[in-house]
């Protein structure tokens, strides 16, 4: 009897853990975009969550206009990437001319303003709209454990996106150039890397990652206007814990926080979990300001 109870608790725990990892992959994906842009652009993009919303809103609108869902989502993701790219090329131009702390501060306010602008527009034009992708199968049984199919697919998409990003940054020439620029802007300029172009590219990539994050979230739950700030704060939490300039750090931190989130949710209830996550951020900033996994890109 007691052994039975223990095994039930254990399988519960494994399910919670895997749920946490799957959600963590989503968080990682959300944060990598933010971290990439901060690393090279020096801009702490507070509109990052709104990018996710934009992808969701555009997908939902295109799908309801009769587009093929896959095509609509693809178009929305690319559209979001171009918005991020356009942001770099337009209102952030004057920000780059500033120096050091001032650049980061002004960038912070500009993107905060942009976040409010996008939130206002999306929730005014599309109240009650939400983006959600249905997975045909409800639950999947693996080794006697039950998983929501949607969470698995969403985790898989997140994982594939992260692997793609790692491959791009690690193996391609442009990826290497971006990493060089992330590490040392002056040095890479001397080596003939066009840092300005790399930065635009990084914004594009960041937008792309936000778009993919919208897809992952849309599959696992839903994306709707008005939740942008919440998504930004998730990305910020993960980014800060991972070391705000480290893409790898963000990936590990995302998974870690996903597990913390699932465990806290399982043991303490949902409302306390966000408070715990936020408390972790403050603790990390105070004791390891460069993040838990700082160093490396």
């Amino acid at each position: 009897m007691t052994a039975d109870l223990a095994s039930v608790a254990l399988s519960d725990l494994i399910e919670v853990l895997i749920d946490g990892i799957l959600f963590g992959l989503q968080l990682s994906l959300l944060a990598t975009g933010l971290v990439l842009i901060f690393g090279l652009g020096g801009i702490l993009n507070l509109a990052h969550g709104e990018f996710v919303i934009v992808t969701g809103v555009v997908s939902a609108v295109l799908i309801s206009a009769g587009w093929n869902p896959a095509l609509a989502i693809l178009a929305a993701i690319i559209f979001t990437a171009f918005i991020a790219f356009g942001l770099d090329r337009s209102i952030l131009r004057p920000v780059y001319k500033l120096e050091g702390e001032m650049e980061v501060l002004v960038g912070l306010f500009v993107t905060l303003g942009l976040a409010f602008t996008l939130e206002g527009v999306t929730s005014y034009l599309f109240p009650g709209l939400y983006f959600s992708v249905r997975v045909p199968v409800e639950t999947v049984n693996i080794l006697g454990l039950n998983f929501r199919a949607s969470a698995l697919v969403s985790g898989l998409i997140s994982l594939l996106s992260l692997v793609f990003l790692l491959f791009f940054l690690g193996k391609t020439m442009i990826g290497k150039a971006i990493r060089a620029a992330l590490q040392n802007q002056t040095g890479s300029k001397i080596c003939g890397i066009d840092v300005d172009r790399m930065r635009s590219l990084v914004f594009f990539l960041g937008g792309l990652m936000a778009g993919l994050a919208a897809l992952a979230r849309g599959i696992a739950s839903s994306v709707e206007p008005g939740s942008g700030l919440e998504l930004t704060s998730y990305a910020l939490i993960v980014g800060v814990v991972g070391g705000v300039r480290s893409v790898y750090g963000a990936m590990i931190a995302g998974i870690l926080l996903g597990i913390v989130n699932a465990l806290a949710g399982y043991l303490l209830g949902t409302y306390l979990t966000l408070v715990i996550l936020l408390a972790i951020v403050i603790t990390v900033i105070l004791y390891r300001p460069s993040g838990l996994f700082a160093g490396g890109v």
């Binding site: 702390e101 303003g113 602008t117 951020v281 300001p289």
Partner: protein, 322 residues
Amino acid sequence: MTRLYIPKPALLFLAIFAVLPLIFTNPYQIRILTLIAVYTSLVYAANIIIGESRQLFLCMSALAGISAYTSSILSLSYGLNPWLTLPAGIVFSVAVGALLSYVSIARGLGEVFVAIVTLTFTLIFENVVLGLRWLTMGETGLVTPVLWWPFQEIVGRRAASYYTILLLAFLVSVLYANLVRSRIGIALRAIRSDKVSAEVVGIDATKYNVIAASIGSGILALTGSFYGYFNGMISPGIFSPSMDIVIILMLLLGGLRTMYGPMIGAIAIIMVLESTRGFGQLTLTFLGVMLVVLILTFREGISSIAERAFARVADSLKKDLV
């Protein structure tokens, strides 16, 4: 001991706003006037914390909210007169503000990290209020106990609350004017222009920054509580991050570290907000666009531009005379 300095335009502000309810008598207009007074006071607090001591607090809404909730909840739970619980709320907020300031200085956080920590704190505050539903009524909001406003028997509750808050805004502006001229203000100016040199001559930067944060938090706390009692209801929606944005917008528009910027900023932005009220969620867009435009083009604010223009005119007049 230096003499109390009462800036004349602050008196003018008080005089004009004291007379306005005689012209704009309907409740909606008086509400707008009250909001202007509330925000003027809040923006002076921001001017002290963000302007004078350069600590980028994005938790001003939370500091105001902590005090409002503390006072209301204590009064409701123990049946106390709200005037008795106001100080408790203020003490709580000041303690939190001072702690946030002290910890970020002690850990040597840059302005951006202070912003992240305090923004995170605001989100924690919001979630705690949402979560402690049995205490705070969560999202629906808490109906505040009834506060006795001075002279409400004579002029009525609405006018009495307005005049009390207006007087607070005036006193806060006087406090700001005197703070800038005081030992604290001079120390803060020295720290701002060169922290290392200031410390070399014996100015304790930590101490003065924490003092500035505490004074600012105190103003936020009292104003937040008054605002809650005036409003009759407090909710996480009122003390949300967008309140911080509104305050920062007013501060930037009026002019950072200026004497009259907070008044100008509060009046202008409240007018804009009220006239765009019909657009619902688009109000957020207006705020956002204004923030972007202001921060990119206009970082010194109306008040200092006006001052410079005035100085230029005065200069050319002088030249003409010579």
